[in-house]
Subunit: 342 residues, 2 copies
Amino acid sequence: MDTPAPDRLPTLADVAARAGVSTATVSRCLNDPARVQKATRQKITEAVTALGYSPNFGARALAAKRTDTIGAIIPTLDNSIFARGLQAFQSALVDHGMTLLLASSSFRPDLEAAQIRTLVARGADGLMLIGHERDPALYDFLERQGVPVLVSWVHAPEQPRASVGFDNRAAMTAMAHAVIDRGHRRLATISGYTQANDRTRDRVAGIRDAMVDRGLNPGTLQVVETHYGIETGARAFSQVMGNEQPPTAVICGNDLLALGAMRQARRLGLSVPGDVSVTGFDDMELSSIADPPLATVRIPHAEMGTQAAGMLTQMVRGGARPESVALPCDLCLRASLGPVPG
Amino acid sequence: MDTPAPDRLPTLADVAARAGVSTATVSRCLNDPARVQKATRQKITEAVTALGYSPNFGARALAAKRTDTIGAIIPTLDNSIFARGLQAFQSALVDHGMTLLLASSSFRPDLEAAQIRTLVARGADGLMLIGHERDPALYDFLERQGVPVLVSWVHAPEQPRASVGFDNRAAMTAMAHAVIDRGHRRLATISGYTQANDRTRDRVAGIRDAMVDRGLNPGTLQVVETHYGIETGARAFSQVMGNEQPPTAVICGNDLLALGAMRQARRLGLSVPGDVSVTGFDDMELSSIADPPLATVRIPHAEMGTQAAGMLTQMVRGGARPESVALPCDLCLRASLGPVPG
DNA sequence: CTGAAAGCGCTAACAC
DNA sequence: GTGTTAGCGCTTTCAG
C-alpha cells in the first residue's frame, strides 16, 4: 500500500503524488483550506496523515518571506517582573498563529543590540522591545530589514514608534501624592539604574513632580540607584536610613526593592509603617501577602502582553502602523504606607 | 561609489560581487572565518558592512537543514517557578550560538502536544520539555522528524530519553524526614495535580517513603491536590485544617502553595510553626523573607537550565545521546518548620 | 478550482 | 584557499 519509506522526511511533492494532485494544490490546502474543493482537501489530508508530513520550515520561510515568528527581548526572566507580561504575550501570539522567539539582555544595551541582530537573523518578522531608549542605529537597521518594532512598558506617544504600556511617570506621581498626603516630607527613593532606562527615569521624575505639586523642594529627594533585587533593596535601604536626615517614607521603583527594604527595616528594628513607610511598584503576586502588605502600583502586565501580541501581529501581517496604547495602572494602598510618624 | 540601492535587501551574491569573490567564499567567511584568507575576509567584512547585509534565515535553514534554534515548552511563566531555569537556559543557549523558541502549555497536555508540533514546524532543531510523561505518539513524531528531546525537572535514568534534573521523590523524602524527626505524626500534603505530572506524583510518593522509613502508616497522609498558586494553597490549607484530625505539619509540593498556606494560617489565627508547621518546595527568592521564613527544598534552577542548554546543543550538533544528569537539591530548614506542638 | 514552473538565497560538494 | 554549481522544499504567479 505505502511506498516503502525513503530515508528522508516526506515533502510536499510526496503528499501531492499520493493525493494525486499538484504541489501547488497541496500548498494551498495547507495554507488556506477554503481555496480547494472539499474532495481534494480530504485526499490531501489523508495523504498528510498517512505520510506524517510536516512542512519544512526553511523552505516555507524562504518562499513566503515570512516566518510567523515574533521576537521579544526582555531584561531578565530571573524574577517575575517581565515574566508575567511575557506569559500573556506568548499565549496571545499562539492565538494569532505566531510563535515566540525569546532573548534576554540582562539590562545591558550591548547585549540587547546583539540579541536584536540575532533575532532578525533568526527570521523574526517583528520585534517586541522594552522601552524606547536605544542606539538609533538599531532602529535604522530594523527599518532597513523591514522588521516592525513595538515598544512595551512605556507610554510615550511622542516617540516615532508605536508603544503599548503605561505612563510610568504619572503612575509614580500618583503614588508619591498618596505618600505626601499622609504627611511625609522627607522622602527617599530606591530606584533601578536610570542609565539607558526610560522607565526608571520616569518613575523618579514622577516623584519629583508630586513634590512640586505639593510645594516640596524636589531637590531634597534622596535617590539611591541599584539593581533590581531583594538584597540590593535591603542594602540601599540601610544606606538611606543611615543619612543624617533619614526619610520617613522610602518610595521604591519596584516591588523587589521594596520587599528588600522592608526586610532590612525588620533587621534594623524599624517598624513599617510605624517608623518608616515603604512603597513599591509592580504589584507582584507576593506583595500582598508580605508583612505588612506592600503598598504599590499595579502594572497591567497581562493586558500589556495581550495587546502587544495583537498589535504586533497586525503590524507584521497587515503592515499596519497602529497608534500607541495607554493602559491604566492602579494604586494599591496597603499597610506598608502609613501616616508620617510623630 | 555605491550601486544605487535596489529595492530589495542585499543578498550573499551582492556581497560577493562587491567584494570580488564568489558566494561560496562569502558563505564560508560568514560561517567559519578561519577558512578564508585574512585579506579576503577583510574585503568581505567591508562589503557586508557597506551593504548592511544580514543573512536570509529561510534560505540558510533550507540549505543547511538546521536553524540553530532550540524550542522549549514550559507550563507557565506566570510565576517564577519555571522562569528562573529558563533564564539560565536561554543565556546558555546564546553562549552556544543558539536561539530560543518558547511556548507554554498551561499544564495542559493537549496544548503541549500542539506546541510541540508548532515548534517543530517552526524549525526547532531540538526540544526541551518538562517531565517525561506524555503521549508516546509525540515521541514517535519527534523521532521521525529527527528532533532530539531533552527532559528537564526530573531525574529518571530508567527512561529511554536523556534528562537533566533532580530526584523529586528523594528530595521530598529528605524534607519529610526532617518533618517527622521533629515529632510530627499527623501529616498532610498540598500537592499540585498529579495527573500527567511525574514531578508532583514523585513528591507525594517521597513523603510516603519517609513515613514508611520512620514507621508511620503512609495511608494516614492527607492529600489535597490543587493548582499551583497562593490562593489555591490558602484554600487547600483551610480544607486540611478543617479535618477531624488536623495535621501538625503541612508539607507543600511547592513554595507558592506553602506561602498561601501560611497566609491562611495567619487568617485563621494559627501560629506557624507554633500550631502547625508548613514546608515548601522550590526555594523562591521570596521564601526566605516570608514571615516566618519558609522551610523548603532548593531546586537547582540555574544549573539545570545551563546544563540543559549545553546538552541539547551537543545533541543537535553532534548527534550525541548524552547520559542523564542528576543535580542535587538542598534542604533549607527555616523557621516555618518547628517541633510538633504540645 | 487546479497545474506547471520559476524562483526564493544560501550551503556544501566537488573541482581547481 | 577559492570558484562553480546543483539543489534544499515551498509559495506563487500565470495559464488553463
